[in-house]
């Protein structure tokens, strides 16, 4: 989004919190993560360039969600570095809250705020975090809600919406912060099959507009069609990556082949 509201993301920020020109949106270096004795991430190196749509696939327990959640430090890695737009966000001096506004995140379980209307869900962080006026936040929210096709649900509460509608509101909520990149954590896994399409359609539009996206998914069709790169993970490691056509249709690694033969 352009216009004055796109600039306010950087309002009052220290220079160290500003994106470094030319740096990739996401750069992960040697990520390790332990949950107790469980070694979930085993040395992940990953760089995602501007405008890329990276789909992460793999069996459950392979560490894909943990990897995604490490990008905005919902999960703090045991070792390794996370660079967002060139900024080391583990640095305690960095304004992590404000940098998180530039990383949109969509969850498997939507996580809309149930005590707020759809409109309030989309305005609250704009006002409380970015300091936008109620009026400005409302205008941006209405535009984003319209974009995901839910203008008639503005005053509804989340419980009155279907899963697909809730997930679209969640996407609108993230977009209202004008993020530079979006993380999707199995966004369609909790949906009834007939509702998956409407959410994927919104994501497809986003990708077409050049949004940088990292998507953990089981939707092979989406990965093949929209993904610019597919990553196959197993046991905390990246086993294979490349263009979708190569990884999904002609996997080289036996583990990738075994996984795909089960899901396709």
């Amino acid at each position: 989004m352009t216009g004055p509201e796109a600039i306010d993301r950087y309002k009052d920020l220290h220079p160290r919190d500003l994106p470094i020109p030319g740096a990739p949106p996401i750069e992960l270096i040697g990520l390790e993560k332990f949950f107790g004795d469980n070694h979930v991430l085993r040395g992940i190196d990953l760089t995602i360039s501007k405008g890329e749509v990276v789909c992460v696939i793999g069996p459950s327990g392979s560490g894909k969600s943990t990897l995604l959640r490490s990008v905005n430090l919902l999960e703090w890695p045991t070792a390794g570095r996370v660079l967002i737009e060139g900024i080391d966000i583990q640095n305690p001096d960095v304004n992590l809250d404000r940098i998180r506004t530039r990383i949109g995140m969509v969850f498997q379980t939507f996580n809309l705020f149930p005590h707020m209307t759809v409109l309030r869900n989309v305005t609250v962080a704009q006002e409380k975090v970015l300091g936008r006026s109620a009026d400005q936040a409302r205008q941006i929210a209405l535009a984003m809600i319209d974009r995901v096709g839910l203008s008639d649900k503005v005053d509804a509460h989340p419980s009155q919406l279907s899963g697909g509608q809730q997930q679209r509101v969640a996407i609108a909520r993230s977009l209202s912060m004008n993020p530079d990149m979006m993380l999707f954590d199995e966004p369609t896994s909790a949906l009834d099959p007939e509702l998956v399409g409407e959410v994927l359609a919104v994501m497809r539009d986003l990708a077409a507009e050049g949004m940088t996206m990292m998507v953990v998914t089981h939707e092979m069709g989406f990965a093949r069609e929209v993904g610019s790169r597919v990553i196959f993970m197993d046991e905390g490691q990246i086993i294979e990556q490349g263009v979708p056509e190569q990884v999904i249709n002609h996997p080289r690694q036996p583990r990738t082949q075994a996984f795909l033969s089960k899901v396709l």
């Binding site: 809250d97 969850f107 962080a125 409380k128 509460h157």
Partner: protein
């Protein structure tokens, strides 16, 4: 024809009818043997009841005011205590100690301590509202301890994803707690909070151990004073009814409120 020949539904109906008959018989017998003139004279004496007016209104208002003050301040303290207890470091242990202390010591003792012992030890110390004010402070502290545990349970019942969503939108820990977590937590614990208010309403009767002035009496003090004045139990019955008049609509209104919010949620 034996009992087992009767159809089960008929058998159940007979059982139900006979239980009503037995119950009614007990009530009738009790009524026959009771000495109604004595009961009426001592518990439902119209003249004594008339004398209670209008002092009883003042006492009822005082009871409500004391309950509201103790609950509102106690709730505010409880939220802070709950958050401290869920944190780390010395403040956590402070909250734990506070909660254990005021939950473990009888409310009556706490009221004595703040209403009488403290003012006695430090003659310069005066709570607003005098001795009764001190007693209310005691009630507040007791309520804060119980309510803190209720609030903490509510906070823990809010799904983890709510905090994650708020944090991923850039909200700070405190902002997330205030804007996203607490409003949901309090909705979850409205039933036990209502319970706490009703308990508190009745616990204001403990303030009767502290000598009250003519204008600061709550319902129980008012009732026991009049019990002594009239040598008659009617004031007890009247104040019992007034307690019910306050508490029953309260639980009803909260129940309605809860249903309304359940629709939204």
């Amino acid at each position: 024809m034996t009992l087992s020949d009767i159809r089960p539904t008929t058998r159940r109906r007979i059982g139900r009818i006979s239980s009503y008959v037995i119950f009614l018989a007990i009530v009738v017998v009790a009524c026959l043997f009771a000495d109604w003139s004595v009961i009426k004279q001592n518990f439902f004496n119209a003249k004594v009841a008339g004398d209670l007016w209008p002092g009883i209104v003042r006492a009822a208002v005082n009871t409500i005011v004391y309950t509201v003050i103790a609950f509102v301040v106690g709730l505010a303290m409880a939220i802070v205590l709950a958050l401290l207890k869920m944190g780390h470091g010395p403040f956590k242990w402070f909250a734990v100690a506070w909660i254990e202390l005021f939950r473990g010591v009888p409310a009556l003792l706490t009221i004595f301590f703040f209403g009488l012992a403290l003012p006695m030890a430090f003659p310069g110390l005066r709570f607003p509202g005098g001795l009764t004010g001190g007693g209310i402070v005691g009630l507040m502290l007791v309520t804060s301890a119980y309510t803190a545990e209720i609030i903490r349970a509510g906070i823990e019942a809010v799904p983890k994803g709510q905090r994650e969503a708020a944090r991923s939108l850039g909200m700070s820990h405190l902002r997330t707690t205030v804007t996203v977590i607490l409003p949901q937590a309090i909705r979850i614990v409205i039933p036990p909070l209502t319970n706490e208010v009703v308990m508190l309403l009745k616990d204001t009767s403990l303030l009767s151990v502290i000598g009250a002035t003519l204008t600061s009496k709550e319902l129980t003090t008012f009732a026991t004073d009049n019990l002594a004045i009239h040598a008659n139990s009617t004031p007890l019955m009247v104040s019992a009814v007034v307690y019910l008049i306050i508490s029953v609509p309260l639980t009803y209104v909260v129940g309605r409120l809860e249903k309304k919010m359940a629709v939204k949620k």
